[in-house]
C-alpha cells in the first residue's frame, strides 16, 4: 500500500517540479461554494448535458443520416412493406433491434427535455436574484447563447428521425423562411437543397446536431464555468455574508463530493424516467410524408412557444407592390424570437442604465426587494406560458373538453391583458411583502398574544427580532430614484444633457418609485422605544393581575 502511495507521490512530484501546479491547485481546490438548492439548477443542466453526450454517442453508432428511400423490412411488423427513409428505418432499428437502443433513445430525449428545462429554470433563478449584475453580465450573455444553442440542438435532433412529427416541424421552419421578404425563397432552397423537403435536409442537420452545436455548447459551458470559478459564486445575504466574501463549503473535500453525488442523482432520475416513461414513439407517428399532417402535432416544449405564436396570430397578409407580405407567419416565426432574445440578452445593461448602478454585486437580491425586476420576470413567464399553451391548444382543448377556438381567443387577449396584469400584481405583492418586512423590523415578530388595555383596547404583543433575523431583513440597500437635476444651472445656462437625464430619471422612477425603503436608524430607534414602552405597560398589567 505504502509503495503505491510512494509511487503516486513520485509521479505527482515529477509533474509538479515541471509545471508547478501545486500552488495553483492549493489556491483553487479550497474554492468556496455556497449551499442553496437554487444554485444547483445549473448543475442539473450540466449533468443532463453530459448524459445527452454519452447517450448521443451511442445513437450515432446506428443512426443513418440519410434520406435514401427504402422499403422497410425490419423487426417492427406493423410497418413492414412501408416506404420510408433510411434515417427513419435506422431509428426503428435502434428502437426494436439494437440491444438497449430504445433506452438510449429515451435517455437522450428525456435528457434533452430536462436539459432545456434546467437551463431555463437556472436562467430564471439568475434573473430573479439579480445574479446577472456586474461583474457577471458577460456570463449572462454566455448563458443566453447557451440557451439558444440548446434550443437549436434540440430542434435539429427532433428533425433527424424523419418521422411524421419531425417532418412537420421542418415544414413549419420552411414556412417561416418563406415568409421572409425577398430572400425567403432563396434561403429555403439553400437550406433544403432545392424544393422542400428534398433529399438533403437530414444529412445537413446531422453534422449541426452532433458536431457543431454540441461543440459550441461544450466550448461555452467551459467559458461559463471558468468565469464562474474566476468571479466566484454569488451568495444570499445575511449576517456574515458580504460583497467581499463567499460563505459556504470548500470545493475539496466537500463540494466536489456533493456535486459528484448530485451528478449521479441527475443521471439516475433521467435514466429512471427513460426506463419507465415512453417518449417520442416514432413507430406510432409513421414515416414522414409531405402530404400528411396529423392532429396533435406539436414541437418539443422549448419550441412550443413559437408554434403557439403562429397559432394565435391573426391572419394578416397585406399586399405590397403586388407581393404578399405574410405577417401572420413573419411576426411569430421570425420577429418574435428576435423580440424575445434581444432584450433577454441585453437585460443586464438595460437595468444598469435605468438604475444607474454600476457597482459590483456578489450578494443576491431577494426577489421581493426588486419589485419591478420581479414583475418583469413574472410578466415574461406569463407571456411565454400563454404562448406555450397556445402551441398545444388542440391538446388542451381535448384534455379539458373546451372548444379550441376559446383557448385561442382567450390567449389572444391574454397576451395583451394578462401579461401587464401579471407584472402589476407581482409588483404589488412584492411591495406588500416589503411592507411586512419593514413592519417586522420596526415592531418585531407577531406573537399571537392579544392584550386588552384597561380602556378596552385590543392590541397584539410583538416580540423584538433577534439581531441575525433583523440583519437578514435589513442588509439590503436603499433604492432611490435618480434625480435628473435642475434644467438650468445657477446662472441660467441650460444643462445640455438634461433631457437624457430626465429620460433616465423617469426609467429609474419606474424601477424604484414605489419601492418600500427599509427603515432608517432613527425610525428603528423610535419604533423600538415605542415597543419597549408597550412592553413595560404589559409588564405592569401582568404584574397587576397577579
Amino acid at each position: 500500500m505504502s509503495a503505491i502511495v510512494n509511487g503516486a507521490g513520485k509521479v505527482v512530484d515529477f509533474v509538479d517540479e515541471r509545471i508547478t501546479a501545486s500552488n495553483w491547485l492549493k489556491r483553487n481546490i479550497r474554492k468556496v461554494f455556497p449551499d442553496h438548492w437554487s444554485f444547483l439548477l445549473g448543475e442539473i443542466a450540466l449533468f443532463s448535458f453530459i448524459l445527452i453526450l454519452l447517450s448521443g454517442v451511442f445513437l450515432t453508432l446506428w443512426f443513418k443520416p440519410s434520406m435514401a428511400h427504402i422499403v422497410y423490412d425490419g423487426a417492427y411488423t406493423p410497418l413492414r412493406g412501408t416506404g420510408m427513409s433510411e434515417a427513419y428505418a435506422s431509428t426503428l432499428e435502434l428502437s426494436f433491434e439494437v440491444r438497449g437502443g430504445l433506452l438510449m433513445r429515451q435517455v437522450h430525449h428525456w435528457g434533452a427535455l430536462v436539459f432545456l428545462a434546467a437551463m431555463s429554470a437556472h436562467m430564471l433563478r439568475v434573473f430573479f436574484t439579480g445574479a446577472f449584475r456586474k461583474p457577471r453580465e458577460m456570463n449572462w450573455l454566455v448563458g443566453v447563447t447557451l440557451l439558444f444553442l440548446g434550443v437549436a440542438t434540440g430542434f435539429t435532433g427532433y428533425s433527424l428521425p424523419d418521422d411524421l412529427l419531425s417532418g412537420t416541424g421542418l415544414r413549419i421552419i420552411e414556412g417561416g423562411m418563406l415568409a421572409i421578404p425577398v430572400v425567403g425563397t432563396y434561403l429555403s432552397w439553400l437550406l433544403f437543397g432545392g424544393e422542400y423537403p428534398g433529399d438533403d435536409i437530414v444529412s445537413r442537420l446531422y453534422p449541426l446536431h452532433i458536431l457543431l452545436f454540441p461543440g459550441l455548447i461544450i466550448l461555452l459551458v467551459t467559458v461559463h464555468l471558468m468565469l464562474l470559478w474566476y468571479q466566484k459564486h454569488t451568495h444570499w445575504g445575511g449576517s456574515g455574508k458580504t460583497n467581499k466574501n463567499v460563505v459556504g463549503a470548500p470545493f475539496w473535500p466537500v463540494y466536489v463530493f456533493k456535486a459528484g453525488g448530485f451528478q449521479f442523482i441527475v443521471f439516475g432520475v433521467i435514466i429512471l424516467m427513460a426506463a419507465t416513461i415512453q417518449i417520442n414513439p416514432v413507430w406510432f407517428w409513421g414515416p414522414y410524408d409531405p402530404a400528411v399532417v396529423s392532429a396533435g402535432t406539436q414541437p418539443d416544449w422549448y419550441v412550443g412557444f413559437l408554434d403557439g405564436a403562429l397559432r394565435v396570430m391573426p391572419p394578416w397578409e397585406p399586399e405590397i407592390f403586388g407581393y404578399p407580405l405574410t405577417l401572420s407567419v413573419l411576426i411569430p416565426a421570425i420577429i418574435l424570437p428576435g423580440l424575445i432574445l434581444t432584450p433577454l440578452a441585453l437585460y443586464p445593461w438595460i437595468e444598469q442604465y435605468a438604475t444607474g448602478d454600476r457597482r459590483e454585486h456578489h450578494v443576491l437580491d431577494r426577489p421581493r426587494n426588486q419589485p419591478v425586476r420581479t414583475g418583469i420576470g413574472v410578466a415574461f413567464i406569463t407571456f411565454y406560458l400563454q404562448l406555450w399553451i397556445a402551441g398545444g391548444n388542440d391538446f388542451f382543448a381535448t384534455v379539458l373538453d373546451i372548444p379550441v377556438n376559446w383557448i385561442t381567443r382567450f390567449i389572444q387577449f391574454g397576451l395583451i391583458v394578462l401579461t401587464p396584469l401579471s407584472f402589476w400584481v407581482t409588483k404589488r405583492i412584492c411591495i406588500g411583502l416589503q411592507r411586512r418586512d419593514r413592519d417586522t423590523l420596526l415592531h418585531g415578530r407577531e406573537t399571537g398574544v392579544i392584550m386588552v388595555s384597561p380602556s378596552g383596547e385590543f392590541s397584539e404583543l410583538h416580540e423584538p427580532l433577534d439581531p441575525h433575523s433583523a440583519y437578514d431583513l435589513a442588509f439590503r440597500e436603499r433604492q432611490l430614484p435618480i434625480d435628473p437635476g435642475p434644467a438650468t444651472d445657477a446662472n441660467g445656462v441650460p444643462n445640455p444633457s438634461y433631457k437624457a437625464n430626465r429620460r433616465r430619471a423617469r426609467l429609474s422612477r419606474f424601477y424604484f418609485g414605489d419601492v418600500v425603503q427599509k427603515p432608517t436608524a432613527e425610525e428603528l430607534e423610535a419604533a423600538q422605544h415605542h415597543e419597549l414602552e408597550r412592553g413595560d405597560r404589559q409588564q405592569e398589567l401582568t404584574s397587576g393581575q397577579q
Binding site: A121, V266, V269
Partner: protein, 284 residues
C-alpha cells in the same frame, strides 16, 4: 360380469318408477306446470333475439316496430317521418334522415350518440339506449324511407383480413389529420372534436367511414375501396392492442404531454433532490 351401461340404466328405471308412483301426488300437476313454463320461457329468452337478428331482410313487422320506436325516441327532433325539423330561425333541430341508410342509424344509435342528451356542438359517445333488436328495427325503418348505405357484413369488417402496414399508410393519409396518428382523437373547430378510436368496434368504424357522421367526411367505396377500409380497421385494431415498449404511454399524445412530464416529474424531482442534498451539510 356387469356391462358399464347397466348402472345408469338401473338408475333410469328407478327414476321412472319413482315418477310414475308419484304422479298421483297432489302437487304433481303444479310441478309439471312450473317445469313446462320454465322450459318454454327459457327457450324463448335464449332463442328469440338471435332469431330476429338473423333475419337480415327487414320484415314489415320490424319496420313497423322501428317506426313506433322512432315516433317515441327520435321524432321530436327528426320529425315523424324522419324528414328533419328546421326551426323558424333556420337552426336545424334534427337533420333529415331520408337516405342516410341503416348504417348511419346503426352507428349513431349503436354507439349511444343518438338519442342526444342535449343539443351540443357534437353528439358524444355514451351508454347505448336501445338493445340490438330495437336498433335493428330503427335501422330497418330508416332504411325503408329511402335507399342508403347498409350495415356491413361481418367478414367485411374483420380486422384479421386486413393489411396492417397498408392500413397505417391509408390512415395517416386520410384520417390522422383529425384522429391523430394512433387514433387518439383531436380537437376540431368550435367545440367539435374527432373522437378517440380506441375501443370502437370494427363495424362502427366501417359505418362511420361510409356515412360520415357529424363533422366527418363520407369515405364511400370510390374514395376508399372496401378492402382499404378493412386495412384501416386492421391498423387501428393492431395499434390498439400494441403495448408501449418504452414504458408508460402517457396517452401517446406527443410533445405537449412529454414537456409537462419533463417539467413536473423531471425538474420537480431533481429540485427536490437538490433541496435534500444541500441540507446534508458537512462540518468543515
Amino acid at each position: 360380469m356387469k356391462s358399464p351401461s347397466s348402472r345408469p340404466a338401473g338408475r333410469r328405471s328407478r327414476l321412472s318408477r319413482a315418477l310414475s308412483s308419484r304422479r298421483r301426488h297432489p302437487l304433481a300437476a303444479i310441478a309439471v306446470l312450473v317445469a313446462v313454463l320454465f322450459t318454454c320461457g327459457g327457450a324463448y329468452a335464449a332463442l328469440a333475439p338471435s332469431a330476429s337478428v338473423s333475419t337480415d331482410a327487414a320484415s314489415s313487422t320490424q319496420i313497423d316496430d322501428g317506426k313506433k320506436l322512432f315516433a317515441v325516441g327520435c321524432a321530436s327532433c327528426h320529425g315523424l317521418g324522419g324528414e328533419g325539423i328546421v326551426k323558424e330561425d333556420g337552426t336545424v333541430l334534427g337533420p333529415s334522415l331520408i337516405g342516410v341508410g341503416a348504417a348511419a342509424v346503426d352507428f349513431q344509435v349503436g354507439t349511444g350518440r343518438m338519442p342526444m342528451a342535449a343539443p351540443n356542438a357534437q353528439a358524444e359517445r355514451k351508454p347505448v339506449a336501445y338493445n340490438d333488436e330495437q336498433i335493428a328495427a330503427l335501422s330497418a325503418y330508416v332504411a325503408s324511407l329511402a335507399p342508403g348505405p347498409d350495415v356491413p357484413d361481418e367478414e367485411d369488417v374483420d380486422p384479421s383480413a386486413g393489411d396492417v402496414a397498408r392500413g397505417g399508410e391509408l390512415f395517416r393519409a386520410n384520417c390522422a389529420q383529425c384522429h391523430n396518428t394512433t387514433g387518439q382523437g383531436g380537437a376540431l373547430s368550435m367545440g367539435q372534436y374527432a373522437p378517440s378510436l380506441t375501443g370502437v368496434s370494427p363495424k362502427h368504424i366501417y359505418e362511420a367511414m361510409i356515412t360520415g357522421p357529424q363533422a366527418m367526411p363520407v369515405f364511400n367505396d370510390e374514395t376508399i375501396p372496401a378492402q382499404d377500409k378493412q386495412d384501416i380497421i386492421a391498423f387501428l385494431k393492431s395499434v390498439e392492442e400494441e403495448p408501449n415498449p418504452g414504458g408508460l404511454g402517457i396517452g401517446r399524445a406527443g410533445p405537449v404531454a412529454e414537456g409537462l412530464w419533463a417539467w413536473l416529474i423531471g425538474i420537480g424531482v431533481l429540485i427536490g433532490m437538490a433541496t435534500w442534498i444541500v441540507t446534508r451539510s458537512s462540518k468543515s
